[in-house]
Symmetry: C2
Subunit: 250 residues, 2 copies
C-alpha cells in the first residue's frame, strides 16, 4: 500500500493511496482511530465523489478511519468494454424510464467478483499498519452497488463486525450471501426507489440471517436518503466499532 | 382534571389523575417540560403497565411531560360486555395460534371511537395549566391499540406535531386517517409479528401522507421491540417537541 498525496480538513486527514494497482483514499481522525470503516461507493461514483467524501468526513469526525477504493471500472481505473457497455445501457434505461434493475443486478454481480479480493487484501494491509494494530477488524458501509459488493464480502470476511447496507434488491447470489451474515446490520431502503423494486429490497432484508438487523425506510428515490439517516448510520457504526474493540481480547 | 396521588422517582414525578371520569397519570420532569407526550397504551395494558411506565420515565428524563389515560375497558375502568367478549376471544385465538388480526382490528376501531374525545379533552385541560402554557401542543406515542387510537387522533388534532406509531396494520379506517397525517412520523414494525401481517403494516406506513416518515423494522414478535429502538424513539420525540416549541411564535 503506497500513500501518495495527503490533505487535511478540520483535523481529518485524507491520504490518496494505491494498493496492488487499485487507487483509494484513507481518511483518519485527529487522534487514534476507534474503528475502521470500509466504505464502498455506488455505481457510477468514485473514491472522491461528494457523498462518499461527506460520509468519510462524518465518520472521521466520529473517531473512525475510513478506507475507500475505486471500484473496478470506476474513478481512476480503466474501463473494460463490458464496463462501458453496462454504464451506457444502464444510463439509457434510466433516462428512458424503463426498468434498469436486471441490468444493474447483472453488473453488480460482475463488480463484486472483481472487487472482493481487492478489499480483503487492502484490509490485510491496513490492519498490518502500526496505527491500526489495536483494531480487531473493520465495519462496512456501502449501499446500492456498494452493497452488491459488501453483502458477499461481509459474508466471507470474519473481520468485518457490522455493516450498513441498502438500496439494493434480492438476487439469488445476494440472498445466499445474506443468509451467512450474522453481524449487526443497518439496512437502508428508499420507499419510492425506481431502481430497486420495494419487495426486492424487503426480501433482501428478510434474508439476512443476523438477529441484530434493523430496516430504516424513508420516502424518496434511490439518491434521496435523508441526511438524518446518514448521520444516524455514522453514530450506529461508531458504536458497533467501539463495541467490537472493547469486547475483543487483546 | 383532578390530581390524586403523587410520587417521585429520580426527580420524575408521577401524578395519578381523573379527567371527566377517566383515570390517568401525568409524569413530569424535574424542570420545565420541553414538550408533552400523549402516551397511549396497548390492548390489555393500562396506565401503570411496566412498559408504559418505563417509556414515561425515559421521556421525562429527556425533559418531556407524559400523559397516559386508561383506555376504555382497561385498567381502572369498567368493562362492558363487549370489552369482555373481545378480550376473551382475542386471548383465545392467540393461545390457539389462529388469526386474531380481524378481531383485534374490530376492537381497535371501537376503542378509538370511544377514546379520541377523551384524549382531546385531556389535552385541552393540560394545555390550560400554567406549567404547560409555553407549549404549542403535544407529540403522540402509541403502538398497537395505541396507534389504532393515535392515527385517527393525530389526523383530527392539529395540536399534535409528531407521532410514534406502529405494530398495527392497514384497515379502511386507518388508511383513510393516515392519508390526512402530515406531521413527522416514526413507524415501528416487528418483522415476525404474528398479530400483524407484515404487508398490512407496510401498507399502513405507505398510506401516511407525511413526507417526514421513517419505518424502523426489527426482527421479533409483537412484544419484542428492541430497547435501542425505544430509546431512539424517546430521543426522536424529544427533538420533534423542541423543534415545535422553537418554531412556534409565542
Amino acid at each position: 500500500m503506497h500513500f501518495t498525496t495527503s490533505a487535511s480538513v478540520d483535523g481529518v486527514t485524507g491520504r490518496d493511496l494505491v494498493h496492488d494497482g487499485v487507487p483509494g483514499v484513507l481518511w483518519t481522525p485527529p487522534g487514534t482511530a476507534t474503528g475502521l470503516v470500509l466504505s464502498a461507493h455506488g455505481g457510477g461514483q468514485h473514491k472522491h465523489a461528494p457523498g462518499i467524501r461527506a460520509r468519510a468526513h462524518a465518520c472521521a469526525v466520529a473517531g473512525l478511519a475510513v478506507l475507500t477504493l475505486d471500484a473496478p471500472g470506476h474513478g481512476d481505473r480503466p474501463r473494460t468494454p463490458d464496463d462501458e457497455h453496462h454504464a451506457t445501457e444502464i444510463r439509457a434505461r434510466i433516462a428512458a424510464g424503463t426498468d434498469a434493475g436486471p441490468l444493474v443486478a447483472e453488473y453488480n454481480a460482475l463488480q463484486s467478483a472483481r472487487a472482493i479480493p481487492e478489499w480483503r487484501s487492502a484490509l490485510d494491509a491496513l490492519l498490518a499498519l502500526p496505527e491500526f494494530a489495536h483494531l480487531p477488524g473493520a465495519v462496512f458501509w456501502g449501499v446500492s452497488m456498494g452493497s452488491a459488493l459488501g453483502i458477499p464480502l461481509v459474508a466471507a470476511e470474519p473481520r468485518v463486525v457490522a455493516a450498513v447496507f441498502g438500496l439494493i434488491g434480492a438476487t439469488d447470489q445476494l440472498t445466499t450471501a445474506a443468509a451467512s451474515i450474522t453481524v449487526p446490520v443497518r439496512f437502508l431502503l428508499q420507499w419510492d426507489d425506481r431502481l430497486i423494486a420495494r419487495p426486492a429490497g424487503l426480501a433482501l432484508f428478510d434474508a439476512l440471517a443476523t438477529p441484530r438487523k434493523t430496516l430504516h425506510a424513508n420516502p424518496g428515490g434511490h439518491g434521496d436518503v435523508p441526511g438524518h439517516e446518514l448521520a444516524d448510520a455514522v453514530r450506529w457504526l461508531a458504536e458497533r466499532a467501539r463495541e467490537a474493540t472493547v469486547h475483543t481480547p487483546s
